[in-house]
Amino acid sequence: MPGRLILRRPSPTTVSFTVSNASRHTSTPAKILFYLQILLRALVFFCVVFFNIARLRHSFFNQDGSLVHWSTIWSSPLGSIVSRIVDSYSAWVVVILSAIVIYGVFRKGYTEESLLVIRGLGIQTSTSSLTYLSKASTRFIPTTQIQDIVIHEAFKGFEVRFYLAIIVDGESEVVVVFPKLLPNRAILEEVWRGSRRCLYDSKS
């Protein structure tokens, strides 16, 4: 999926470039699909929780609490079906299956990578995390350590790809910006120009 560039300029000395391959949800069907997807994820999540509770109903969830009457739930048609399904599998199978499903529920369907340039301070690169639960991984490089920002080419798989890299003082390897998406040359050149202008050009 080719990425697209979102440019934000909150102040004259700050620019943020974000490359993302998320879909934009502009049309009505796309929006409806997006909300349906959220609903579906929530539904699946509660299903998994319910299945796990059903599995543990003998040890924990057998007394009637003040809020939920567990015994009535387990004797209801839905509850008895779920109990039967869960009991036919061992505890490990249930745990592993629910872990996989939970991961799928919280998994992001897109990657977002950004470069934040602040004049006189430095550059921060960030790559979005795989799931909604963890934070994006970021790296800050102060201006004094930045030697140069360059676009170069490298072999990746069966291809030669362009990449934007920051040469950092005292490090043997460069820091690759947008390492996962590796956007095309047009985007890279725009980011390269913009970030250099923001970092080094005093006029703007």
Binding site: H152, F155, N184, R185, R197
Partner: protein, 478 residues
Amino acid sequence: MPYNIAMVSDFFFPQPGGIESHIYQLSTKLIDRGHKVIIITHAYKGRTGVRYLTNGLKVYHVPFLVIYRESTMPTVFSFFPIFRNIVIREQIQIVHGHASLSSFCHEAILHARTMGLRTVFTDHSLFGFADASSILTNKLLKFTLSDVDHVICVSHTCKENTVLRASLDPLMVSVIPNAVVAENFQPLEQGGPPSSIGPNDIITIVVISRLFYNKGTDLLIATIPRILSSHPNVRFIIAGSGPKAIDLEQMLERNVLQDKVEMLGPVRHEEVRDVMVRGHIYLHPSLTEAFGTVLVEAASCGLYVVCTRVGGIPEVLPQHMTTFAKPEEDDLVMATSKAIAALRSNKVRTDRFHDQVKMMYSWTDVAQRTERVYKGIQGDISPEEFYGYYPGQGWEASGDRVRSFALIDRLKRYYGCGVWAGKLFCLCVVIDVLIYVFLEMWFPRVNIDIARSWPKKLKQKEVADSTGNGPDRVSSTT
């Protein structure tokens, strides 16, 4: 019109050697003539990725498995995806392969034909016909060259050899010799008239060669004691390394010649000139040689050349710079004695050699002639003019020489390679085409970024109105 050319070979810098410097010099001179040239080679230790050399010469060091003497594993198809990617992003029109022992080059030519590009192959070496490895190499060469657009050889002997090995139409083979950068091989500066050599002055004989069997080291070992016993005022300087070095040293110890023969060991290419100018005669006992660039270098340094009459050597230098010998002990001793006598009688004007060599060999000339080959295969020169037109000889001048890209024509050419080989080659080509179709679907062309070309050197008036869109690394922001 300028072309986009890709030079493909296993052999390139940082490894030193004749093919390597040939590719480099030719590429730089072609760039000077306005073409765009890139080089595709495999990754060397400490030399990987995409690099730029002087003058914007771009080198792709493709990561690949190296098996023997810096040659890559012949895998036939595995190079195709990355090769296609490079060709598309650099908008290559002509693929120029070098060296018949490089599997990279053969594969590139096959894939380039599949992709509908014109191809040229340069052969740098001579091969035999009899032993098993030659037969195998020749079959492989025949496979590649059945469908190549044009072949360049470095000497007429090499051309004859290649035409026979690959069953080519001789008109499809051009001869373009190597050249030397004469400025790097200046003789010693001498003020005043050239000094003459007296009858008792020391004459130094230089030998610079890798000490291998095919370079004639055995011959050298046999001749040195005989020359030294008949000419007391002769010294030897031997530079180079190899498996025969030990034999050479044993001979020196057996005959106690250490004070007359100096062994320098391996020398770097840029130091060759400094070794050469210490001598008067250059001795080259090689048993096989396609061209022998080192002879030109020696003559350029003002050395009189004694060499064996093998391979392409007789074509390299004019008569007055050389003494030829048969590749045998007696004749080589005799030729060397003759050369020593000629120098003692001051009949040879070695001081003029440098300027003469400079007139004969230049890379600019090589680039010009190579460019004509490119024009010929691209159709910018008519086939009649390019191949020569011979009316009434029973065959058409254009004939089959302009190689069409139609698959059926290509298969016909490959099928003629042999009873079993023909069928095998056809199978390879069909698979290659299928891989190409698959790649076009899986990695579509539109998704491949076109790389920026290195900015051409602009003429003065163009500089005035240019907007200065330089390459990414160098240009300054405006």
